[in-house]
């Protein structure tokens, strides 16, 4: 080549000569490549693909709008992400032991898994709680259990994330009460309540009350936290469960942000100024299989949310546009076959989240397609994060994937496609309306069905399941939850009920009923009730009476 060859010219030559030569003899594995979200993936990305992208406007700097490169300027150079393993099972005592183990092993924040009766507002002796107590998380019936749960754990030093939604206000109140007993005032408390009811209706199923009252409870918690708990996240707007239910990466971003928009609108309608609560909104995503799409997804979500907060809601404070999020590696990718393979999957997924700039991370254990994790398995999961943090040096510079032609194109694509969904949902009247019509559910279901069909046909390979299988699976020892947990819990519940001051409990529940019928902020009222050992089931029972129960229409 004599003069300098132009890029387009060279690209064409490369395609017509070099690629053509090879493709004739070695065709590519597929006709077309695309991500699971349907975004086409080209053979090669070059600077030419960066043409429509403006570094200053679209990519920018970490810690600065639109936060594509991260929410803090120093990111992991300053502090690693919080290693926060979701955990909980059986009774508070057993879970407390596991928490202490995890903290000793270097976990830097707690994440509480509650059992289904607790999540759905039933006490452990309720008819519908039979067989469910302590199975998917810890059973919490009253403040007494909460005290045991955090025994020996200083709440001014440890931040706690609680995966609780319909009954979030109650668990928040209990957390505050336990801290108070430790001498820690609520303004010092760090943590999160998931408190995201919309995704319960759309994908997760632990709803209790209908949408109106549920939103009221949520805005009550927003208000309460913004006034009293400046270090606490009053919501974790979640995409993880939407993804787990089968959505694509683009849908995960779209539906999560649509939910976020609904919450911001609700809070504003309830009289809050956007900058008074928005900085404490946090998010929660999954990290699934396709490496680059996942990294791009996190960046796209950050950028899109920042724009929405600034342009749509007029946030003036930069903190209001700053999307902080927790990530969990994708549960649905774990296989029951050859469980050790899951360690590899989780490692890659964790790395994706780190390269995507997550604030905290949960890594799944290898045996979680079979049961809750054993101590050994959860240790490996924790070590995975520690190795990434301390041995790979990926945290030594901020957003290292920036500038990758492929990643920047993907980031822009995901943002654009997610925005299209959001526009559509806006036209329907917002996420609550879209959920009522079943739109979000059917989009998720269609993606789930499509995914399963591709796995069944072999088009999508799952190692150990439809390819690279073994005839004799190795015997695996998995965790068995203490089978006495339910009866122990029921016994303790009886005990609590007999020892407390029934008068005070009745009075507090009456006050709650009155408050629920009116428009008082329910959080302080619930706090009073939990302090006199009214149980979760009693509190939610009163609310069920006043608010009614959500009836799912289950669109298939």
């Amino acid at each position: 080549m004599g003069e300098k060859e132009t890029l387009p010219h060279a690209l064409k030559r490369w395609r017509d000569v070099i690629v053509k030569k090879v493709i004739g003899r070695f065709p590519e594995r597929k006709e077309e490549f695309e991500t699971v979200s349907g975004i086409p993936v080209k053979r090669l990305y070059t600077p030419a693909d960066m043409e429509p992208i403006d570094y200053m406007k679209d990519i920018g700097f970490p810690g600065e709008f639109p936060f594509t490169r991260g929410v803090q300027p120093t990111m992991y150079r300053g502090r690693f992400w919080t290693m926060r393993q979701y955990s909980g099972f059986a009774t508070a005592k057993e879970t407390n032991e596991r928490y202490r183990f995890l903290l000793e092993q270097g976990q830097t924040g707690l994440s509480v898994a509650f059992d289904l009766p607790t999540q759905i507002g039933y006490d452990s002796d309720h008819e519908l709680a039979k067989g469910e107590v302590g199975k998917v998380g810890v059973a919490i019936d009253s403040l007494a259990d909460m005290e045991i749960l955090f025994d020996g754990i200083p709440l001014d030093k440890v931040s706690t994330s609680m995966t609780i939604n319909s009954s979030a206000a109650v668990l928040l109140a209990m957390y505050i009460a336990v801290a108070e007993k430790q001498g820690v005032s609520m303004d010092k408390l760090r943590g999160t309540i998931q408190n995201d009811i919309l995704k319960e209706y759309a994908a997760r199923g632990t709803y209790i009350f209908p949408p109106g009252p549920s939103m009221r409870l949520i805005t009550d918690t927003f208000k309460f936290c913004s006034e009293n708990m400046p270090l606490f996240n009053s919501i974790s707007i979640s995409g993880y469960h939407i993804r787990e239910a089968g959505s694509t990466a683009v849908q995960e971003v779209a539906f999560t942000l649509a939910d976020g928009i609904a919450y911001v609108e609700a809070a504003i309608k309830a009289g809050l100024d956007v900058d008074s609560f928005a900085s404490r909104l946090s998010f929660f995503f999954g990290s699934a299989s396709e490496f680059f799409e996942e990294i791009a997804k996190f960046r796209a979500a950050r950028r899109l949310w920042a724009k929405i907060m600034k342009e749509r809601f007029g946030a003036r404070d930069d903190n209001s546009s700053r999307m902080r999020f927790h990530t969990q590696t994708a549960g649905y990718t774990l296989t029951a076959q050859q469980p050790d393979n899951n360690v590899v999957r989780v490692t890659l997924q964790a790395l994706q989240a780190v390269l995507g700039g997550t604030q905290s991370l949960h890594t799944n254990s290898r045996d979680e397609a079979l049961s809750l994790p054993t101590e050994e398995s959860v240790q490996i999961a924790l070590r995975t994060q520690q190795i990434i943090a301390h041995e790979t040096a990926v945290g030594d510079t901020v957003d290292p994937m920036a500038g990758s032609y492929f990643v920047e194109v993907l980031t822009a694509e995901i943002e654009n496609r997610a925005m299209e969904y959001i526009k559509k949902i806006d036209e329907m009247g917002g996420a609550p309306a879209a959920i009522e019509r079943g739109y979000i559910q059917s989009e998720i279901h269609n993606s789930a069905y499509d995914y399963q069909r591709r796995v069944d046909s072999g088009e999508r390979i799952v190692v150990g399941v439809n390819e690279f299988t073994v005839d004799e699976e190795q015997r695996f020892d998995y965790l068995r939850v203490n089978p006495q947990a339910e009866s122990e819990q029921v016994a303790r519940l009886k005990d609590i009920r007999s020892k407390r001051d029934t008068f005070k409990v009745e009075a507090s529940l009456d006050a709650l009923r009155e408050g629920a019928k009116g428009d008082a902020n329910l959080v302080p009222i619930i706090l009073d009730a939990v302090k006199v050992y009214a149980t979760l089931g009693e509190i939610c029972g009163v609310l069920r009476d006043v608010f009614g129960e959500y009836k799912a229409a289950d669109i298939l």
Partner: protein
């Protein structure tokens, strides 16, 4: 597509578990295989499941559960079916059910458990081959 006999299947989620990705995907696959699928949704008690199964005269019940509460709920369904004299209904299950629990579930009358990694075709073929017509 006349009125040839159709296999009618009831799919239910007993207990409090809200994860319905799997059961909905199975429902669709069974429909695509020519079956009539009655999906009763979340939060079903064993009583509700059995009543619906009998009223709808299904020949197969599919129970989906991921919460670990299967040992309390599945046998209860079988017990109620027995009480109603409906033991000719094929009962299968899916979700997160440890292998170790299989023998006891089978003894209670559950015909088969389809755990993670099962293909939809496998489930369809099994039902077709094992329903009592």
């Amino acid at each position: 597509m006349g009125s040839a006999k159709k296999i009618r299947v009831l799919l239910a989620k007993p207990g409090l578990d809200g994860h319905d990705r799997g059961v909905k995907v199975v429902a669709r696959a069974l429909r695509d295989a020519g079956m009539e699928v009655i999906y009763t949704g979340l939060r079903q008690t064993p009583e509700m499941i059995v009543r619906a199964a009998i009223d709808e005269a299904v020949s197969c019940i599919g129970l989906s559960i991921l919460s670990g509460a299967h040992m309390a709920l599945f046998p209860k369904v079988m017990e109620l079916l027995k009480k109603e004299g409906a033991t000719d209904i094929l009962v299968v299950g899916g979700g997160i059910i440890p292998e170790d629990d299989l023998p006891e579930l089978k003894k209670a009358g559950i015909a088969e458990i389809f755990g993670p990694g099962t293909s939809l075709d496998e489930i369809v073929e099994y039902i077709k081959a094992n329903v009592k017509t």
